[in-house]
């Protein structure tokens, strides 16, 4: 949308740095929430099909209108504007990309919300497919940050979609979501204050096994996917901190795996807070890690862009000033006042004071008032017999006025 592009001012290089943080901040809300809804929708549908009464407990905590709008809708609107700024100067149709994300995303949220009320299977099936598509498009759009070298050539997100990185990152997102959802469900139903807990009929043992299985699946797949990711990432995106953070994530996943085995083996619920906290940290770390990769990938691009933006801004300011100056009308009365207050201390028409007499210097400006104005605004030493004229700090209106007054007075004297 051209109109949206025109609304945006070119960002400065400091703002580009800030944008990366804001994007990360929004992603920390948007992606875990999307993962929660996606995985719990799938789990709920699966449980419904095997006629388990647990199915509704999977969706209940996060499919209310409040969480959906706060974590699902608002971050995506913010991300749209942030990306529009981030990709400033490229020809990428960011707004169209986000339409492609938002239609399935909001449609999916709505259907899942309605499913929570009506329990119609068709709604949840369609909702799940839409959310899956939205998640895939989100990952492919975010991953454009990884390939600044193709921005000049990409018209649709399809080339990015077919890249191996997008597929790996989507799988990482799914594995993280499964782990995260499992950990939060386990925490909610085993450690949440008593009054929020489900009723007596709730099958705790089955819940523990399902969520434990989900977590273990996620935890086992993640390291392999991360290694595959590091192996295939373009060389210009890698940094030592990214590798270090990757190693820390794997260690945390190991600790999580041992806690999950503990959960699956025990007959009573334990480690609920540990797994919830660790799973949340791991999700955050993976996002931060990717942000490091994006930052490294864009380092060069942002330097070039900062230069371009600086030039654009200079041109823009010069144009604006030229336009403003063109509209200023010379006010000779004001000129006379300035002449008497400022100029007469050093210049007179007939005789030399500190500076040269006007009768000597003004003839060269008679048909070139612009040169006189330029000199008054930025005086430079011309004649070595005289000291340099100090800058009087006059604004455009005052310079125009005093120039016009000087030239008309000179003409009258002639």
């Amino acid at each position: 949308m051209q109109m949206l592009n025109e609304l945006l001012l070119p960002p400065t290089d400091q703002q580009f740095g800030m944008l990366a943080y804001l994007i990360l901040f929004m992603l920390l809300f948007a992606l875990p929430y999307l993962g929660l809804v996606l995985v719990s929708t799938l789990a709920s549908t699966g449980l419904r099909m095997i006629k388990s009464p647990l199915d509704r407990y999977f969706l209940e905590p996060w499919t209310g209108g409040g969480p959906m709008i706060t974590f699902g809708v608002i971050p995506f609107f913010c991300l749209m504007f942030l990306f529009q700024l981030y990709f400033y100067g490229s020809s990428l149709p960011v707004f169209e990309y986000f339409l492609r994300i938002m239609f399935p995303l909001f449609g999916g949220f709505l259907l899942v919300y309605l499913y929570g009320k009506s329990r119609a299977m068709i709604l949840v099936g369609l909702g799940f497919v839409l959310l899956l598509a939205a998640a895939f498009f989100t990952i492919s759009t975010i991953d454009l940050m990884l390939f600044p070298e193709i921005w000049a050539f990409v018209e649709t997100p399809l080339p990015a979609v077919f890249s191996i990185q997008v597929i790996i990152h989507f799988l990482i997102f799914l594995a993280l979501s499964i782990l995260f959802t499992g950990a939060w469900l386990y925490f909610l139903y085993f450690r949440w204050p008593e009054h929020r807990r489900p009723t007596q009929t709730f099958d705790y043992d089955q819940m523990r096994k399902i969520t434990g299985g989900m977590m273990l699946g996620g935890v086992l797949f993640l390291p392999v996917l991360m290694l595959w990711d590091f192996y295939t990432l373009p060389v210009y995106t890698l940094t030592s901190p990214a590798f270090a953070l990757g190693a820390v994530t794997i260690v945390l996943l190991g600790v999580l795996a041992l806690a999950i085995v503990g959960i699956l083996r025990a007959t009573v619920a334990r480690f609920a807070v540990t797994v919830m906290v660790l799973a949340t940290i791991v999700f955050g770390l993976v996002l931060v890690n990717h942000q490091l990769l994006y930052a490294r990938a864009n380092q060069e691009h942002l330097t070039l862009l900062a230069d371009q933006v600086k030039k654009e801004k200079e041109n823009w300011t010069a144009e604006r000033e030229a336009k403003r100056d063109a509209n200023v009308v010379a006010d000779e009365k004001l000129g006379e006042k300035i002449y008497n207050e400022r100029c007469t201390a050093c210049h007179l028409f007939e005789q030399r004071v500190v500076g040269p007499p006007y009768n000597e210097v003004l003839p060269k400006y008679v048909d070139n008032v612009a040169a006189l104005e330029a000199f008054i605004r930025n005086p430079v030493k011309v004649n070595p017999d005289y000291p340099a004229m100090p800058n009087q700090g006059l604004n455009v209106r005052e310079v125009k006025a005093v120039s016009a007054y000087l030239l008309s007075t000179y003409a009258a004297k002639e």
Partner: protein, 169 residues
């Protein structure tokens, strides 16, 4: 089996950890900006001093290779300029000993791909398009993937030939 599950898990995660360290090591050896025998600064020469790329890489517009300048070209200025700096003294050492400087190559294409600088300069491709903004790179590093898909996208967008034979002779 169930008894040993924690042990198997620990072994699995330690294995993954070792693999990531191996990948990091491999990247440090090959992918990171290599250390050069002299810490030549593009930001000073191309940035502050405003030298054109072709001032040093003289053959870029007339031969397939951009080439690294001979030490004699460096010495044209550094006979007198900045001779108190340690890196310039290193350079003068090479010159006095009449030794070549073994610069580490940063951009390396596989043997089956042929790249010709002259053709690209002639087509108006800016150096920064492939090499990034050298003025901001204290130590030169590879800033593009140099993958075939990237080359082909650019060729397509500029109506340059996409025949296999163009690059694979």
């Amino acid at each position: 089996m169930k008894r040993y599950l924690p042990l198997i898990l620990v072994a699995y995660f330690i294995g993954c950890l070792l693999l990531i360290l191996v990948l990091a090591r491999q990247w440090q050896d090959t992918g990171q900006a290599p250390e050069q025998p002299i810490a030549f600064s593009h930001p000073i020469h191309a940035g502050n001093l405003g030298l054109e790329c072709t001032y040093c890489h003289q053959t870029v517009a007339r031969s397939p290779q951009a080439t690294v300048p001979p030490v004699s070209l460096c010495m044209e200025c550094h006979k007198n300029a900045a001779i108190d700096r340690p890196e310039v003294q290193k350079l003068r050492g090479f010159w006095e000993r009449q030794e070549p400087i073994h610069w580490q190559r940063v951009y390396q294409l596989p043997w089956h791909a042929v790249f010709n600088h002259k053709r690209h300069i002639k087509a108006g491709v800016d150096c920064s398009f492939c090499h990034g903004e050298l003025k901001a790179q204290a130590r030169v590093r590879q800033v593009r993937s140099l993958m075939m898909g990237w080359c082909v996208s650019c060729h397509r967008s500029r109506n340059a030939p996409t025949d296999c034979w163009t690059c694979h002779k």
